[in-house]
Amino acid sequence: MGRFNLQYKPFGNRAVLVEWPQKIDAKIQEDVWFFKNLIEQNCIKSILEIIAAYNSITILYKSTIENAYSEISVLKTLYEGENFVVRQDAKLWEIPVCYHIDLAPDLVSLSVIKKLTIEQIIKLHTAPFYSVCFIGFLPGFLYLSGLEEQLVTARKTIPDKHVSKGSVAIGENQTGIYPMDSPGGWHVIGNSPLNFFNVKNQNPCFASAGDKIKFTPIGKDDYFAIKSAVENGDFLPNHSF
């Protein structure tokens, strides 16, 4: 394969960083996942884990790297070789979101900034099939790409000290859901009653990189009904392949 010209850099003496061209791009993201899966399928014993992002993967090694250049050459050979990966089945997750102003502290201000009605914001935000690019920042925080151009909004200059669990928010050209209470600088336009990180589940985060997300607007009554069902452990998000 070897579709891109990759940069390989030692990252300290326990990791190697592999970088694609400096942009957020669907083709690059596909190739990031391809290479990550390829490395994982080859079960290289010295590797502990891989952190993938938009245009990079960081490979963590179990112990100090004796010779970074020999590890890098193993990776290069793998990428440049005639390899194929068994693709994981990507899922499409339907995520209920309540866009009521009681649960969306920044919806009114965003409507003023973007000169859009609240209805237009909801329509634009629920239209796309977002891609889960990777999970980072907080346990279970999905970085989603695919936000409509009209909703792109600079982050707040001063981050909020408290953003509630479930907050659905916009920051620059990304949108995401806060899986737990946290400080944060994105504009909160709704709230999802689902649990995005639960250590009691075998897989603590139901979605994984490569999956698709579609937001479904719900009213306040449905929001609280789903929220209590989630707390009782008898609500699972809908998904299709």
């Binding site: 990252f11 300290g12 970074a68």
Partner: protein
């Protein structure tokens, strides 16, 4: 059981952390000063990954409800056993009902208590390390009870001769970070030749330094960060990420601390001075 009579300023249970979950955004966590914590475990014959108590700046008071053996390493918090001074870096025999107490640190920042067999709190995602949002609590509270195994061991005469003088060192060994080469030679020189002061923004997630570096770098496309990654913020502040750091970030990663440097920094506190010393790659 260990009864937490006083938790101290900020005390947690930590092992060597939870690796393998970074792809879900879960920090590694684990003891801040791995050198001291591993040593505490080794002194009493534990596995190095056994869970220990990590105390920060001001220690706590602990009552043991069974016989066991402990070792204390790291910062000097003037440990006492039933009110009498007790040695650090040695196995200490504990009888049921004994009380071990600590004061404010005289030297260093973090103290470790290893208990024979390790602390047996519940594992979450393969680790006993406390981290709020993965575990229910992030730190120990007064009246908490920690499970341990009752052990009636013959005390071994093994003890470590290593004392905590090494905390006086102020040189942090670093590698260049992924964005180091984007800095101008002047910026690189200023970062590698200046002395930096640790600000009061220092905790298990990261240490912010007071002095500025001129910064004209653009943010990077969000990418992985590691414990020990030194980020340069748009305002020109350096932040050294520590064990509870997030898994990804958007600030340029200008330096990367060695494991030993992370351990040393974990013993530094507000106002302490540090400098960076570059390790070249062929010195691996």
């Amino acid at each position: 059981m260990i009864e937490i009579i006083k938790s101290g300023l900020y005390s947690t249970v930590q092992d060597l952390g939870r690796s393998g979950f970074a792809h879900l955004g879960v920090p590694v966590s684990g003891v801040m000063d791995q050198f001291s914590a591993k040593l505490a475990n080794e002194i009493i014959g534990n596995h190095i990954n056994a869970a220990v108590i990590e105390m920060t700046l001001i220690g706590g008071v602990f009552k043991f409800n069974c016989d066991t053996c402990i070792a204390i390493t790291g910062a000097d918090m003037v440990p006492k056993l039933n009110g009498l001074a007790v040695s650090t870096y040695k196995p200490i025999k504990i009888d049921k009902g004994d009380v071990v107490s600590f004061s404010a640190s005289k030297h260093g920042c973090r103290t470790y208590i290893a208990v024979s067999g390790g602390i047996k709190t519940a594992k979450v995602l393969n680790s006993r390390s406390l981290f709020k949002s993965v575990t229910t609590e992030g730190s120990l509270k007064n009246d908490d009870m920690l499970s341990i195994d009752e052990q009636n061991l013959e005390l071994k005469e093994a003890y470590s001769k290593i004392k905590n003088q090494r905390f006086d060192q102020s040189i942090l060994e670093v590698f260049t970070g992924p964005e180091f080469d984007s800095l101008s030679p002047e910026q690189q020189k200023s970062m590698l030749s200046s002395e930096f002061t640790i600000s009061n923004l220092n905790n298990r997630m990261g240490y912010q330094l007071i002095e500025h570096i001129d910064n004209n770098l653009n943010p990077i496309i969000t990418s992985a960060v590691l414990p020990g990654t030194v980020q340069l913020t748009p305002g020109g502040k350096l932040i050294i990420l520590m064990r509870d750091a997030q898994t990804t970030g958007g600030y340029p990663r200008v330096l990367q601390l060695s494991d030993q440097a992370i351990n040393l920094l974990a013993q530094k506190k507000t106002g302490d001075k540090v400098t960076f010393s570059l390790i070249t790659m062929n010195q691996f």
